[in-house]
Symmetry: D2
Subunit: 409 residues, 4 copies
């Protein structure tokens, strides 16, 4: 079992400012717990709402000092830029500049602060989807490349240890060439018109102005795409999509069924296929992300609601259930775990693993895709691909032709 | 619990002849057990192979008398037609004509004996798919209508008690209008080129001349289509299919992914959607037929490998697991069960339920769709629809247009 | 997959008479299906109730001919003894003597017909528990030894293929020395005073005059004892029991908790321990027999309600789920299966495996324990041990001393 | 969903010192994460090892300042007592006295610091078992009563939301009178002689001088006792125990099987019974704590490795699976949850719930059992009962009489 300092001597906790995530938000609290779980980061500043008054009130309620309870992210950017950064290895005091920002606003409000903070040299952790257009995504990629900063996108499900084990097995060839991937992300909480009640989470997610062009496909289908890409390394070639708004009057899709074709893994090889289902009208499904990967020699299956287990079916042999925390797992899976087998880890711990990677990259000063790859967290390439995925599915669903290319038109 | 005579006085067992199902066949033995489980039928004659010598040898090995060990189904037809039928209620003696035939040949050899025996006034139980073209299917429908005989198609999974419970719940409106259906039938036994080894089951199933135009879509996708149609009562409007032969050199599909659109359940209502997956390269899946039905108010889920349970998720309430044999089930589910809760029933018992229904129809002399409906077994309408399904999926998979209408072209 | 004739040429079906099992009985119908499933036996005679009128009416309702619808088992014994036996290999006609009797009466009425038919040279299949005292059991053992007939006791759960696989693994040393066994058999159907409603199954099972000294411990605890003995081969050394009648006014135990100590498997070795729980007041448990066997190197777990799976946990490796019908299983498990993996087999098929073994012994003329061992079915030694188990638990529960020796006093 | 500040305005985080839990310890890291998860506490001081040098090195490695990296708990007591406490509502600065201590040493080293810090007026959070004798426990109870401080014992499994739901259902009468409880805690990590390898966790747990008189019964059996007592409210009347050391040369039990009798819930009522199994030689079980509670009208079942689900079986109705985070749960279960349904919470979150309660009691200044009851965490009464439980099981296992009274001798 790894411990919280990775056993290599003390390093002072980094400090962060949060954008969004104030009163009534779900995901802000999750990020604060996840960022701080390993005692490597401290919540130090916030512009917690698009409403300045509410932003300040939320910050005070969460214990931020008055001078860091910012009314807007622009104010936070201005003020923090003026503070001096801590020296490497120095304990962060109240006067030091924050090390990074965490962006947990509705989708439409990711891009502007992400771009501004990146350009100002701050590291960024941004919720998914990264932004609402490929053009925006490319702008962020360029800015981060120029700034050399760390940029993490919280595709948090990739932080699960057993997802990392699945990735190891799929990519090391243990399954043989991958033939078919079935990924589903079903929820039921939008089976009725919750947005009509004013429920905050439902309200913005079903509003194209704030959510972007995708409903379920953006909110959860995007996670499904990331999970399959992370585990398999397959690259999408074309998609065939059917989007539906089952709830009368809803303005965005609440259900998506998508056929997938991947690029051949080798020249001349048969391409893999896939099916992606994302639905928010599946009553009884709470947060049911699951994936099956069928290779030539074995199948893997994993389910987010039972995250400590990975099912491995080698041809002609009994099914095996690999469990988190055991010595027989790959290094990446072991490193992503805090406590012994049978002491279940779950959503928050997986989320914290994304932060653990991003913070390590910040400390080592390894920005961009190099940092994401080396310290094992989703970066801007994942984020940009996710935005393209939403766009292409929305385009494809509107088309009468069967296959919509993933790149090009 | 029902008992094996349905508590209504003794009725003599009917006798049947089998076509196909001799040495090395899997499904012939299944039919013999299923037909006889409730002591309502007796295996009395057979033309058990397309090879006359093997047909006779198989019949002898199975204990049939010499004069009913027929070399061909034509010989059986001739000879049995010449025997006198038993009077109603009379015990069948060795001289009486068989009451029905069971056809368990490869797909291409269903149509001819089915047509001939139907025209000669015999009842027929035929394995699925009914035949290999819609034209053949229509010919059978017409012949049976004219003859007034019973014709059952062994979509055996519809015989499970909990499938009947699901049907009851879906059709009684307990789920609200159905929105989405996801049905999967995954197997792994054809993940490598088993047909190259001479394995008999793999050999004919991958041969277009004997299997028809569909591989996995015909062999198992057809069961999936029937399961969803039976449970939901939804009618297909259009399909969008992707068929693949993953195993190099295989001549038929071994994997199918199909998007489904259904006709609106009421004029102006939003149509339901669906996804159907059928694959025989899914290593680790043995015979993994499963279905989920999402309605406006509840979800149902059932899985063939755990057939005694039906999962019911009403909105806002805990998931419920309904189990076979309990007093809270619908009449059709209770009638399809032989033993108490917790004493699991499985594949053979479900299969026997198809026979139980068909034999009851034969005894009551209620032929055609009326018999199938009244005595609760799949009949020619199911069989013909299944053949069309295979055809339309094969056609659709070859097309560049997205949606292929289920009826019309 | 094995087929129903074991592939070795046709052998005529044996005929049997049934004692008990008429109208309203559950287990009689089960035995009739199980005995006939493989087409190796035919129900030919019956004394189906202790009430002569009801016995005859039940027999007629089940289609037995008038002259074999016996009012009493004594009448059946007299009449069948007078009929000539069929010659070996001869098809049984209506005039031939039955080959064996099946005894499915309440417990108190097993011994007399079992003894009489055995002495008269008939083979016997008797439900469990064998009888109601060790003295009776010894009398049966002696009689069968003298007669040389086959005697099977339907501890039907030992007929499951995966129980046979577990036995193979436990006895072949794959687990290392066995340390601890936990076996539970929980049901909930007697959680309220069902016997007060006149329900037939509850009525005799809670009546000491018909059930014997044990309630739950006899009805289901006895199955649990047999399961653990069969799988592990361990021999009981001492027990420590607590029996309870939770339902007010109930005359027999409806709940049993028993600590077990086994004889050392080798001189000087540490003895294995165990816990046996049997309860009929466990609401929500339908027929929940389950066992875990912990060895020095691995654990096995099996559950009757999911009978096609066996869980195998080798130390330091992932859990494995072995499934019925696969090539990797032992010969005994494969031989006990009729259909391929994923086509679940269940209660009736397992029950039929007991008959398959007993009938094979009858055909080969191998009586007594030799037949039971060679053809793999529970015989009189199992039956007698089961009766002793019930006795010792009842005695031990009444004692203030902690450990009651299994043998001796 | 509750948020991390309980929505009632900001309160400054309390500070704590830790005793034990340095390099190589598992449980120290768990306590640090759990204590800090809700941003209500801060790790500020430590005497992290019984070896002074190691204590200081560990503290430095974890980032504690030099002046709070104590060599011994006595040094920490001296120094912290000299610091001034913060005023209520005041942010804790580096000069303020810690608010509470966390004791995570091996069992034998709980009592002395717990007593000393309690007497000095510090709040205490102590791992279980509380201490190694009833006499010690009573001394702690008396000291805390006198001091009026908060004292929590981390029976962490009672922090799971669904355990609180089970408690609500069992105690509100929803199950009817409880009849039988079966609780098991199985692990496999001590199936071989791990202590001989020097593994630190195994070493002290199998050493009577550090672990106390109980091995598995103390380490995990104690958790099982607490779980059943918490959920049911039943009081033990007598126990009948069998303890075993299966691993040759092991000095303490590694396996326990215990029959339980409870006091009648009402005068004249039939007493409930139970079975408790605790084993550390159950290969394949990782941390498999599970409980079933059978009442007159329903059964509940919960398992630590699937902690987000609670199974509820009402008589005559389908089984229901209640899941964490849903609106249909009781208030205590909802309050113990941080994130929505389907986003699984697990071990660390449950552990943090114990801290959440204890910290709330500290803030409100409600010490002793009143605080434990009002703020829902295990206190000294639980701790003392747990110590008695271990003692009585060890005594009972050594006795030839069947039942050992829980109180008295």
């Amino acid at each position: 079992m790894s411990n919280s300092t990775n056993g290599h001597g003390h390093q002072p906790a980094l400090t962060f400012g949060m954008i969004g995530g104030g009163q009534g938000a779900f995901i802000g609290a999750v990020h604060r717990i996840a960022a701080c779980m390993d005692h490597q980061a401290r919540f130090a500043a916030g512009a917690l709402s698009s409403d300045p008054g509410r932003a300040v009130a939320s910050a005070r309620e969460l214990g931020l000092p008055t001078d860091r309870a910012y009314p807007t992210w622009q104010a936070m950017l201005d003020a923090e830029t003026k503070r001096p950064p801590a020296a490497p290895g120095e304990e962060r005091g109240p006067g030091h500049r924050i090390d990074f920002v965490v962006i947990v606003t509705p989708n439409h409000a990711h891009h502007a602060p992400a771009l501004a903070f990146t350009r100002a040299g701050f590291h960024v952790v941004c919720d998914k989807p990264l932004c609402t257009s490929t053009a925006q995504a490319e702008e962020l990629v360029a800015a981060a490349a120029k700034a050399g900063t760390v940029f993490a996108v919280t595709y948090n499900y990739s932080g699960y240890p057993m997802v990392r084990q699945a990735r190891h097995m799929a990519r090391s060839g243990e399954l043989g060439a991958i033939r078919k991937v079935v990924v589903e992300y079903n929820q039921g909480w939008l089976a009725s018109k919750l947005e009509a009640t004013g429920q905050k989470q439902a309200d913005w997610r079903t509003d194209p102005a704030r959510s972007g062009a995708g409903g379920a496909i953006g909110d959860i289908g995007s996670h499904a795409e990331h999970l399959l890409s992370t585990i398999t390394g397959l690259e999408l070639d074309a998609i065939c999509a059917d989007l539906t708004s089952f709830v009368p009057g809803r303005r965005l899709d609440d259900d998506a069924s998508v056929l997938l074709r991947f690029k051949p893994h080798a020249p001349g090889a048969a391409p893999a296929k896939g099916v992606l289902i994302a639905s928010q009208i599946g009553i009884g499904h709470e947060n049911d992300l699951r994936i099956r990967v069928h290779g030539e020699r074995a199948t893997l299956a994993w389910r987010q609601e039972e995250p400590n287990a990975l099912h491995h079916c080698p041809e002609g042999e009994p099914e095996r259930i690999l469990r988190r925390g055991n010595a027989y797992l790959c290094d990446a899976a072991k490193a992503a775990s805090r406590i012994p087998p049978g002491h279940p880890e779950a959503f928050l711990e997986a989320f914290a693993n994304i932060y653990r990677g991003a913070i390590a990259a910040m400390r080592q000063g390894v920005g961009g895709e190099a940092g994401a790859a080396r310290f094992d967290f989703p970066g801007l390439a994942d984020g940009a691909r996710g935005v393209r995925f939403i766009e292409r599915v929305v385009d494809g669903a509107a088309s009468e032709r069967k296959w919509t290319p993933f790149h090009g038109t």
